[in-house]
């Protein structure tokens, strides 16, 4: 690509042709403020905060949407530019609540950041607040339309990347609002609760449903035995939130921290991830051997399951009947584990710690009571755990390691992989290969299904049976694969879907994530942890082996069916 040379604030700089003024300025070391701009989205040019002067242009130009051309003279710091930016900021702030002190996004708010940089000390415009009702309808997501600055980033993610279209714009001008596309409340819309709108939102207009207070009440109850499971993508994000390298925080340190927070027993979702591989790989093999419905899709992502239920109800038999690791764990903790520990299941309060907002919804699905109790009583997201740790002043990085509690705490490298897109597939292939061929798999890394590409494919030869697999993340890509299934043209046997970019490491419950670059780094941390494990194949997990010997007897057996599998159904509307 050819280079274009432009003058920016009097300094010549060369950038590839077609570069935006925004990126050109960045390269020149000049920060231009943005609100509606998102590095992983289309340019919207709504907020106009990034305007600059371009010689020869009557109006100020949005830096995000204007591409440089040869010889362009750009000025980013003139009084005219500053007047425009500050006026726009004042306008937005005068129509935005002033409760920054107790806003969920205080400290991570992009508007707050710019207002502080632009030294907005008073506002020429009188404060007008819309006084709209907050939307608490969803178990996963809270909307505060009063705080919305109409940048459109949530809509764009939901529409373009997820093709869910749960959000849209209503009303006009000063009264314009982001609203659920159908119904009055978000839970009436087709929302799948992936929570990516939370990351897309630059302010506090969309946030996760928090259950910190409820947790503290339960933790204080001496009658309750609080048991937790922790998901593979959580650890590295907590390290991130404490400003450390992602692999610096050890699982054992996190166990110590959680004990301090009031959890009585710390177990591991990774254990259930290994269990999922045992069941799901068996299901796949049986489908292939018995001419069952193919391709089979993974069912561990609750946002994806709901997406399939809402948009592809006729093809739900393509989903694996396996519950997600969270729910397998939930069903076992109040049966198998309670028995092992001689604790009455009545007393167990099962909390899972997840990188995910949709897990909160999954836990309250009516079918998730196979233990005769609510299998999972509460889901806390990574963000909530970080908040609890901050509140209690506990820095897990400074703690000594403690071991997981027994029976459901051991895990292999395969389980860790669940945190990254392609990981379930990779873990399943490790087990399927050894099950079918009876040989030891030497090269464990299936790099074809790794990384941030939207669709990753691999083919493996199981002694003559060629199995074609795919892994996709974000639901727009899932839709494309599902459409192939509907058209009868899908070439695959097994497909993994994760609703969030990069998989669970990019989940809706993770600390606010501003770009996919961050998600790619988290993915890398997952592979590092996998490599660090001595056991890297699910079927090698001793506690899993014990579970089958002592309790389940066989994969896809009677007890498995009772506790670990379920059927999905058409969801036109939420309950």
């Amino acid at each position: 690509m050819s280079e274009t040379t432009v003058m920016i604030n009097g300094i010549p700089i060369s950038v590839p042709e077609g570069t935006s003024i925004l990126h050109t300025a960045q390269k020149a070391g000049i920060k231009i403020p943005t609100l509606c701009f998102h590095p992983d989205q289309e340019v919207k040019a709504n907020c106009r905060i990034c305007v600059v002067e371009v010689e020869g242009q009557k109006n100020l130009m949005p830096a995000c949407a204007t591409k440089v051309n040869e010889g362009m003279t750009i000025k980013t710091a003139t009084p005219r530019v500053l007047e425009a930016r500050r006026t726009i900021l004042e306008l937005i702030l005068a129509h935005h609540p002033q409760d920054c002190l107790h806003c969920v996004r205080s400290g991570s708010c992009e508007l707050q950041e710019i207002a502080s940089e632009y030294d907005v000390r008073y506002n020429r415009f009188p404060q007008v607040e819309a006084d709209l009702l907050l939307d608490y309808s969803s178990p996963s997501i809270v909307r505060d339309p009063n705080k919305c600055i109409l940048c459109g980033r949530c809509i764009e993610f939901c529409t373009s990347k997820q093709t869910v279209n749960a959000l849209g714009l209503a009303h006009r001008g000063f009264d314009a609002q982001v609203v659920p596309s159908i119904g009055q409340e978000l839970f009436e819309s087709p929302c799948v609760m992936c929570g990516q709108c939370i990351h897309a939102c630059p302010v506090g207009a969309i946030s996760g449903r928090e259950q910190i207070d409820e947790f503290m009440t339960v933790a204080a109850d001496p009658e309750k035995i609080v048991v937790t499971q922790i998901a593979p993508a959580v650890r590295l994000a907590i390290a991130e939130a404490f400003g450390a390298d992602r692999d610096q925080l050890q699982m054992g340190q996190l166990v110590s921290a959680l004990k301090m927070l009031g959890f009585d027993h710390i177990l591991n979702t990774n254990f259930a991830a290994d269990l999922t591989i045992m069941e799901e790989s068996q299901e796949l093999l049986e489908r292939i051997r018995n001419g069952g419905v193919l391709p089979m899709f993974t069912s561990c992502c609750p946002a994806w399951v709901r997406f399939a239920e809402v948009f592809y109800p006729d093809y739900l038999n393509h989903l694996s009947t396996c519950k997600s690791p969270q729910q397998m764990f939930g069903a076992l903790v109040k049966t198998y584990w309670a028995e092992k520990m001689s604790i009455h299941p009545d007393k167990i309060f099962s909390v899972s710690i997840m990188p995910c907002t949709a897990k909160k919804y999954e836990a309250v699905r009516p079918e998730m009571t196979d233990s005769d109790y609510s299998d999972v009583d509460m889901v806390l997201t990574t963000r909530e755990i970080v908040r609890l740790l901050q509140m209690t002043g506990i820095n897990p990085l400074k703690l000594k390691e403690t071991a997981f509690d027994p029976w459901m705490g051991e895990y292999t490298g395969s389980a860790v992989l669940f945190g990254a897109s392609g990981g379930v597939m990779e873990a399943a292939l490790r087990t399927v290969y050894e099950k079918v061929t009876g040989r030891v798999l030497e090269e464990l890394d299936f790099t074809d299904v790794r990384g941030m590409d939207s669709l990753k494919e691999a083919t493996i030869d199981l002694d003559g049976t060629i199995v074609k697999v795919a892994a996709a993340h974000t639901l727009g890509n899932a839709r494309a694969l599902m459409d192939e299934v509907a058209a009868g043209t899908s070439p695959y046997h097994f497909i993994e879907i994760m609703a969030c970019p990069g998989g669970c490491i990019g989940g809706g419950g993770q600390p606010i994530t501003r770009s996919n670059v961050q998600r790619e780094q988290r993915m890398e941390a997952i592979y590092v942890e996998d490599r660090s494990k001595t056991l890297r194949k699910s079927h090698d997990n001793h506690e899993i082996q014990m579970l089958y010997t002592d309790f389940l007897q066989e994969t896809l057996g009677h007890r498995s069916h009772e506790l670990l599998h379920t059927q999905y159904s058409l969801k036109r509307k939420n309950p």
Binding site: A94, R124, A176
Partner: protein, 618 residues
């Protein structure tokens, strides 16, 4: 290729033959209907039926003289056409009766005679000699009010589809574009972008699928030029669009017309059907191999949908919101395909240019603004209506010659040109030639052609407030400066009108104008400050009077009015006290009354009621 010549010849003979019949023509555009045209139609047809009179009836579109609607024209064989205005149903019947019985016109209702082709009647002004018509040229409006818009035959009779036939038989697409470029035609919808250059951009855009879109979303308050063309001569638009389709290589067209124009939609639909059935639209037009279909998309009446990218979103079924350009529609328009978009008047000019040549068109107008422009005259002007004038004519000529000056002998104050996106022009600049560039220099713009005339009783701050109220309501809400800024400008203007303005408000207002103008995403926001900027530029003293003296010089802003009874003139008749809705007036019978200023709501009912002129506002 088939030729229309023979058909046209036949139609022409039939038309000439019909001139030997007695004919009554009634203006049934929206303006005519609103003024009672349909009642005239009913009364006349009932009369014809009951008396078995051999009279043909015909409806037509708007001839431009909205001030004189309902209009009726009577044509007796061998006589000029007599045009009557402001007729009532009974009068219409009487006029016809007199024609039938005595062969004579009724002078009390007559407006003019159209004596073309006939010997003129004595003592009746000729249409082209009426002050309203003098100075006008009729290109786009040539057939409006003359032909029956529902009759394709009449359109063809009057040279209709001649231009389409010409391009299909003898011009290459690029030659058509060159002709349009040479004519100097500029977009009539607002910005005035050269039409030829726009067409050329779409022509050069690669792709086998292209669209022609007509912007008929006429949304400026006080603008109805396009509606008149749609209602009065719909085929001229269809022909212009088809020629554009041929030139840029499109086979499909959309007319985006606001749903508030039901009659226009009805007539367009019929016109499209008729043109299709005669092979003038649809597949293989006139056997030339060129195919072009036109569909109608009805808009829900959002002003912002006049912005081209918002308009296309609306056609696509999305929320009507503009998007950032580039890419321009010529590269990526409707459904991502190259699209040429012009407004009604622009396309309606095309057949004339092709038929009579670029040079003919370029002979009218000024150096950079060619041809003629239709204006809708409204407000405090004597002759409201539609006037088509050569570009470059002075505003003074439009307002005082064509429009007949200000109503009730009041003083001219300003004219708002270009609607809510335009600006006002004071008396001192009335001799400015009306063309795209001169108007821009004055802080106004040609816009689509709405001219709202204001007299001395108009408060210019209130005018700015009115237009900001409009743009603020019509802002789509997409970009921050327009969404938030127009509201804040309105708030400040309301504050000033309420007498609560402070000197800093003017600074804030001007700062907002600068920012909203230079940072908004689309033309709506970029031009929203124009009415404020123009009134500040030419009538700043009025703002200052509101702010410093707490006075509204025009006596419009209610909060600043002081209503007083002149004790010398008051006879103590008590009428004012009786009519006051809030009991603010007191006084003994036959003694001067007084108004309690704290109670007075300034409704001015007492002023209207007082027979002695004793109550005045100030």
């Amino acid at each position: 290729m088939h030729s229309l010549n023979e058909m046209r010849h036949q139609f022409r003979s039939a038309y000439e033959e019909s001139q030997h019949h007695i004919k009554v023509v009634i203006g049934l555009g929206t303006c005519g209907i609103a003024a009672g045209g349909e009642k005239i139609w009913e009364a006349v047809s009932r009369y014809i039926e009951t008396h078995g009179a051999e009279v043909e009836m015909m409806s037509t579109g708007c001839i431009g003289m909205c001030y004189a609607e309902p209009l009726m024209e009577v044509h007796m064989p061998g006589q000029p056409r007599f045009i009557y205005g402001n007729v009532k149903p009974e009068a219409a019947v009487a006029i016809l009766q007199k024609h039938l019985a005595e062969g004579k016109p009724s002078p009390e209702y007559i407006i003019a005679q159209d004596s073309r082709g006939y010997e003129a009647a004595a003592n009746i002004v000729k249409l082209e000699e009426t002050p309203f018509y003098q100075g006008q040229v009729k290109n786009v409006l040539g057939r409006c009010g003359i032909i029956d818009p529902d009759q394709i035959v009449q359109y063809i009779t009057f040279s209709g589809y001649e231009a389409l036939e010409k391009v299909l038989s003898s011009l290459t697409p690029f030659e058509v574009i060159q002709e349009i470029s040479k004519s100097g035609l500029r977009g009539r919808g607002g910005g005035g972008f050269p039409a030829g250059r726009k067409w050329e951009a779409s022509y050069h855009s690669p792709g086998s699928k292209k669209y022609v879109v007509c912007n008929a979303d006429e949304g400026d308050p006080g603008a109805f030029m396009d509606r008149s063309v749609l209602e009065g001569d719909p085929h001229s638009l269809l022909e212009g669009m088809a020629i554009c389709g041929y030139a840029i290589g499109a086979d499909e067209g959309y007319i985006y017309v606001r749903a508030e124009y039901p009659l226009a939609i009805k007539r367009l639909k019929k016109a499209i059907r008729d043109a299709e059935s005669m092979g003038l639209l649809g597949n293989n037009i006139l056997g030339s191999g060129f195919s072009f279909k036109i569909q109608i998309a009805a808009g829900a009446g959002a002003f912002v949908c006049g912005e081209e990218t918002a308009l296309m979103h609306s056609i696509e079924g999305k929320r009507g919101m503009p998007r950032v350009r580039p890419p321009y529609p010529a590269q990526s328009g409707l459904w991502g395909k190259p699209t040429n978009i012009n407004n009604v008047e622009t396309y309606a000019n095309v057949p004339g240019i092709i038929r009579q040549g670029a040079a003919w068109f370029a002979s009218m107008g000024t150096e950079n603004s060619k041809g003629s422009k239709v204006f809708a005259l409204t407000g405090k002007i004597n002759r409201t209506g539609l006037a088509e004038v050569p570009i470059g004519i002075s505003l003074r000529d439009i307002v005082f010659k064509v429009g007949g000056g200000i109503q009730n002998g009041k003083r001219y104050k300003a004219v708002q040109i270009g609607g809510p996106s335009g600006g006002c022009i004071p008396e001192s600049l009335l001799d400015t030639p009306v063309d795209y560039d001169s108007l821009l220099q004055l802080g106004a713009m040609m816009g689509s052609g709405g001219l709202v005339v204001m007299d001395e009783d108009t408060c210019m701050v209130d005018v700015a407030r009115y237009f900001l109220h409009f743009t603020q309501e019509e802002s789509c809400g997409k970009c921050a400066p327009c969404r938030e800024g127009t509201m804040r400008m309105l708030q400040i203007l309301e504050k000033i009108c309420d007498g609560k303005g402070t000197p800093t408000d003017l600074d804030t207002l001007e700062s907002l104008c600068r920012v909203v103008q230079s940072t908004s995403l689309c033309g709506l926001g970029q031009s929203a400050p124009n009415p404020v900027l123009a009134t500040l530029r030419y009538f700043r003293s009025e703002y200052e009077a509101h702010i410093y003296d707490k006075k509204c010089p025009a006596g419009v802003c209610v909060e600043l009015l002081d209503i007083k009874i002149d004790a010398d003139k008051c006879k103590g008749c008590t009428l004012c006290a009786d009519v006051c809705p809030v009991g603010a007036i007191s006084g003994e019978r036959k003694k001067p009354h007084v108004i309690d200023a704290d109670k007075c709501i300034k409704c001015q009912a007492c002023m209207v009621k007082c027979k002695f002129g004793a109550i005045a506002k100030g």
